[in-house]
């Protein structure tokens, strides 16, 4: 609910850059056009795993319009192109630089590569088998063994959580549920495939324009990849057409910079949708065996299991504690593997690892509730982390945030009170997430007309700059329309971290507030001279500074700003650098209502209630949009999304036709509920809101399917075919 004492914060302010975006005026990375610009295109491995016997670039080099062909041999020991081994379909083998994109593509087709195809592993469960193919030759793996003492293959990382006496807890349990869950690689499918343009300058510096979630991260990554100093690079971030975590990392930026240095001309590399699928940074899939125990009263006593994260060539491990989640469980024995597979190393996708683990955890809890005859809401309330409890993130909770969010969702969905028809059902699932913070910054300067210019290094991914403008407007008591927010590049602002981890508005919002408070102080000081009063006797209200109790003695913000230009202390400014700020977890709860067609297995989502504990909504419209977007992504993972690999390790659905994401008719109007109980550290009580919405949706649908037709689908996505198979299985049993 909006705070009545606030004028701008908490209001439904439309995105300041919205009109430009929807009318096509916004400049995106691929809009960068420079004189003499060349175009790079990448030759990629058609095989999931192979050795390169030879590369013949002669024909490509002879094609008129081709300026450069770069293979590993030309990179002087850098590892930006495959040298001897390609490790996944889409692995980069060569870059062609040409006068236009068509010539570059023609030349890519003229490069001849002789491959010796090797065995590949694309499934983490099959990939750890002692006799599985080695995914990456010479990679260092953990020595982990099966029950027969045979060493698992491709285990790049292992971790465990052991707490309490798990065996005793299972022995004493009144109900035990054990299931195996699977989830596939999951692409972020943002609208804008990555594009970047690099321009080497005569002095040796290079400017890089790119679509990214953090210009400084890209700068470090390019510097690392090319073994050059960060100071040689200027990274200019542009408006993003979606990133969801993927654009934390490099696509072809290092290649564009390298090619521009070699050719002395600007080089643009645009990757297409297929390349996004083959060589992007999707979320990892996983294989989970999860066993959960409870007593008659519904208290969860033990969690035991193993998760195999599909870690791509990096064998990246994922989160393990999320298999326990936001519940108090005394006895835990969990083991997690990061498994090397012949896929690109997974990246971040909005609450990384949380939707996959929530699917397993929340399905098991739901099954326990049904076994024990307890309402699925009640079992969650019974075990939810409460005020005074310490979370797995090491925070002691000051409120019953999760329980209150569960209750708010249940109330909105009229849980237990709706008249469901045959084949209809309702399911609930919960998620938790603790946002990150800083480093970030805000620099404020006032113009003579009282308008306010804000500069920040924080990339705007979902309305951050609008929220910063609201905060600055609030502090300086000017209309939001008087505030503009500019994104600074790496040459113009200090180091700024990624817009990721639900931390942008939390951290840069704090920077904006503190910087605006500094500007306000300076404004009052300057006004004190004009009004011949002590700053302590002045108040700032409605864009005017006046003497308290004497409203006629006042001066406008514009007049103060204008007169300050000539004053001894100079223009009215404010700035703030955030390092780190403490954070709290926030909670999201989804209740899905579905109807299942038992003939075709089609699941129709009739209704979705998405409640979230947001602290305070700085802009409810933007927060609701975040929740609806995140919930849609989770539902989609639940029902249709996922990358499919064939026996040879090739992606079968590297396009947006075969890789299904929902269309508007697939989604109901998601009903959002904002639970606003404040948070002591965030700006105006806000918590990070970006990631929690994506966590529980898939699991809520799984639980609703069970409620509707009595079968539990444990593999994502829960396609019609899998629903029909589960129904057939239930009939046989």
């Amino acid at each position: 609910m909006p705070n009545p004492s606030l004028n701008s914060v908490g209001k439904r302010v439309g995105r300041l850059n919205g009109p430009d975006i929807v009318t096509g005026r916004t400049l995106y990375a691929d809009d960068i056009q420079l004189q003499e610009m060349l175009h790079g295109r990448v030759l990629r491995s058609p095989h999931a795993h192979a050795l390169i016997r030879s590369i013949d670039t002669r024909k490509a080099r002879k094609l008129p319009g081709v300026v450069d062909v770069i293979t590993a041999e030309e990179t002087d020991g850098l590892s930006i192109l495959a040298r001897k081994e390609v490790r996944y379909q889409g692995d980069k083998v060569a870059v062609v630089v040409a006068e236009n994109p068509d010539i570059a593509l023609d030349a890519v087709e003229l490069i001849e590569v002789d491959y010796q195809v090797l065995g590949s592993a694309t499934d983490p469960f099959e990939g750890i088998a002692p006799n599985a193919p080695v995914a990456v030759r010479g990679a260092k793996n953990e020595d982990v063994r099966d029950e027969n003492g045979k060493r698992y293959r491709n285990v790049a990382a292992r971790d465990e959580i052991v707490q309490g006496d798990v065996d005793a807890a299972f022995a004493k349990a009144d109900a035990v549920v054990e299931n195996i869950y699977r989830a596939p690689y999951w692409h972020q499918t943002y609208m804008e495939p990555n594009s970047c343009t690099a321009q080497a300058q005569p002095g040796g510096r290079v400017t890089l324009w790119t679509s990214c979630q953090g210009s400084f991260n890209i700068r470090s990554a390019v510097a690392d990849a090319l073994k050059i100093g960060e100071g040689r690079l200027r990274v200019v971030p542009l408006e993003m057409g979606g990133g969801f975590g993927a654009k934390n990392r490099l696509f072809c930026e290092a290649h564009a910079v390298f090619a521009s240095i070699r050719t002395g001309r600007p080089v643009k590399i645009l990757i297409n949708r297929e390349e996004e699928f083959l060589d992007g940074h999707p979320a990892p899939g996983c294989w989970v065996r999860l066993k959960t125990a409870a007593r008659k009263d519904g208290s969860i006593t033990a969690v035991e299991g193993r998760i195999l994260w599909d870690g791509g060539i990096g064998g990246r491990n994922g989160n393990l504690a999320r298999l326990v989640g936001p519940y108090n469980v005394p006895n835990i024995r969990l083991e997690g593997f990061g498994v090397r597979t012949n896929k690109p190393t997974p990246g971040a996708y909005r609450a990384p690892g949380a939707p996959q683990t929530a699917m397993a955890r929340e399905s098991n809890i739901d099954a326990l509730a049904h076994k024990l005859g307890i309402d699925p809401i009640d079992i969650r309330l019974k075990n939810a982390v409460r005020k005074g409890d310490r979370t797995s993130g090491g925070v002691t909770l000051p409120h019953d945030w999760l329980a209150n969010t569960i209750k708010a969702a249940a109330k909105e969905a009229r849980w237990g009170k709706t008249g469901l028809k045959k084949n209809q059902g309702m399911g609930i699932a919960c998620g938790d997430w603790q946002n990150g913070s800083g480093p970030t910054n805000a620099f404020i300067a006032l113009s003579e007309d009282g308008s306010v210019q804000v500069l920040t290094g924080q990339v705007d991914i979902t309305g951050l700059h609008t929220v910063m403008a609201q905060i600055v407007a609030e502090v300086l008591t000017v209309p939001v329309g008087k505030v503009t927010v500019q994104l600074g590049d790496t040459d113009k602002v200090p180091y700024t971290s990624l817009s990721a981890g639900s931390k942008a508005a939390y951290s840069a919002g704090t920077a904006a507030r503190k910087a605006a408070e500094g500007a306000r102080e300076r404004l009052l000081q300057e006004a004190a001279d004009i009004l011949e009063a002590a700053p302590a006797d002045l108040e700032l209200k409605g864009g005017k500074v006046s003497v308290i109790g004497l409203p006629s003695r006042s001066v406008t913000v514009a007049d103060v700003a204008s007169s300050a230009m000539d004053s001894n202390d100079g223009p009215v400014t404010g700035q703030w650098i955030v390092g780190k700020i403490p954070t709290y977890p926030s909670y999201s709860v989804n209740i899905a209502t579905v109807e299942v067609d038992p003939g075709t297995g089609r699941v129709h989502l009739l209704d979705l209630v998405a409640a979230q504990d947001v602290g305070r909504a700085l802009n409810p419209m933007l927060v609701e949009g975040q929740i609806q977007g995140g919930a849609t992504q989770s539902i989609a993972y639940g029902m249709m999304e996922g990358m499919i690999y064939d026996e040879e390790g090739r992606v079968r659905n590297a396009n947006l036709l075969d890789y299904a994401i929902p269309t508007a008719p697939d989604m109901p109007d998601i009903r959002t509920v904002l639970v606003e109980e404040g948070c002591e550290h965030g700006p105006y009580g806000a918590k990070g809101v970006g990631e929690p919405p994506i966590i529980p949706g898939a699991a809520a649908v799984a639980n609703a399917i069970y409620d509707a037709v009595g079968v539990r689908v444990t593999e994502l996505p829960m396609t019609p075919e899998r629903v029909v198979a589960a129904l057939d299985q239930a009939r046989e049993d």
Binding site: D658, P662, T663, D666, P720
Partner: protein
């Protein structure tokens, strides 16, 4: 996209000449398949012949004697919104409704859908159960053949050098004929049929089925007519048992493959489920409204 020569003939003769002169030329109507493939470098035609400016190419008309005429440039959206298509050729209108999005359907053509010859073409089962014929123009004059025979395999049609499709003619249905089409897809729109089923039935005044058509999409290299299932219905009263029996036979007749969208087994099962539903829908559409109300 690579450079190509572009022709926009104003007469059938000019079109035939252009196509004959450039054997590798491709015909452009709505472009929703062709342009995407050209941009993706799947098709690299040296020449493109646009048939949208041919006389009466956008003609969609119905006459009691000759039936429904669909010109070469008639869009999916025209057919979808046509009241005569909706009332007399339900399976065709419904097939058009499933294609792409409204934006796509405003460009995409029915003829293009047929010429493209995808086994999953959404308008094909409806056209086939209505015994539609393609009218072909070419260097040797004109010829006609059924849509069923015209579609030869994935991406393959019966057109010879210099030929193109001028239009489709669908005979006027007999009284008390109804038809319907549905498809199974994982999402509501912008998708390709995992299985599509079109059915038509003609009933006698006493409710006996005198003719039946069942055509299955995406379960064979071409839209497949389930003739054995059809013959089970003809001469019979369409009881739930009879319909279920025909649906089971249709699923036997299907020759599905396993691909990225579904397994063969699931496709077969969907043929059974959807055929049953479509025979029922067609038979409801064939039943005059008054007697349906009475029932």
């Amino acid at each position: 996209m690579q450079a190509f020569e572009y022709f926009q003939p104003k007469t059938v003769r000019e079109a035939v000449q252009a196509l004959h002169k450039h054997p590798k030329a491709m015909v452009l109507a709505g472009g929703t398949d062709l342009l995407v493939r050209m941009k993706d470098r799947v098709n690299r035609p040296p020449a493109v012949v646009d048939v949208k400016r041919l006389p009466r190419s956008d003609d969609l008309s119905y006459a009691g004697k000759t039936g429904l005429h669909i010109g070469a440039a008639v869009s999916m959206r025209q057919v979808e919104l046509s009241s005569v298509a909706q009332s007399r050729f339900g399976a065709i209108a419904q097939g058009a409704t499933f294609v792409g999005s409204i934006q796509i359907r405003n460009r995409a053509t029915v003829i293009g859908n047929v010429c493209n010859a995808a086994p999953s073409a959404d308008t094909a089962p409806g056209l086939i159960v209505h015994d539609a014929k393609v009218q072909i123009a070419g260097p040797k004059g004109r010829r006609t053949m059924t849509v069923e025979d015209f579609m030869k395999g994935p991406g393959k049609n019966d057109l010879k050098r210099g030929e193109f499709v001028l239009g489709i003619q669908v005979p006027a249905p007999k009284p008390r004929t109804g038809s319907a089409y549905v498809r199974h897809t994982p999402r509501e729109a912008m998708d390709i049929a995992v299985v599509g089923v079109g059915a038509s039935v003609t009933l006698s005044p006493k409710g006996i089925c005198t003719a039946a058509g069942i055509c299955l999409g995406a379960v064979a290299p071409v839209p497949l007519r389930a003739t054995k299932a059809e013959s089970i219905l003809v001469g019979q009263k369409l009881t739930p048992g009879k319909i279920a029996q025909a649906a089971l036979v249709a699923s036997d007749e299907a020759r599905p493959i396993t691909d990225v969208r579904a397994t063969a087994g699931f496709r077969r099962e969907m043929v059974r489920v959807l055929t049953e539903r479509m025979i029922k829908a067609a038979s409801r559409a064939a039943t005059p409204t008054r007697s349906r109300r009475a029932a």
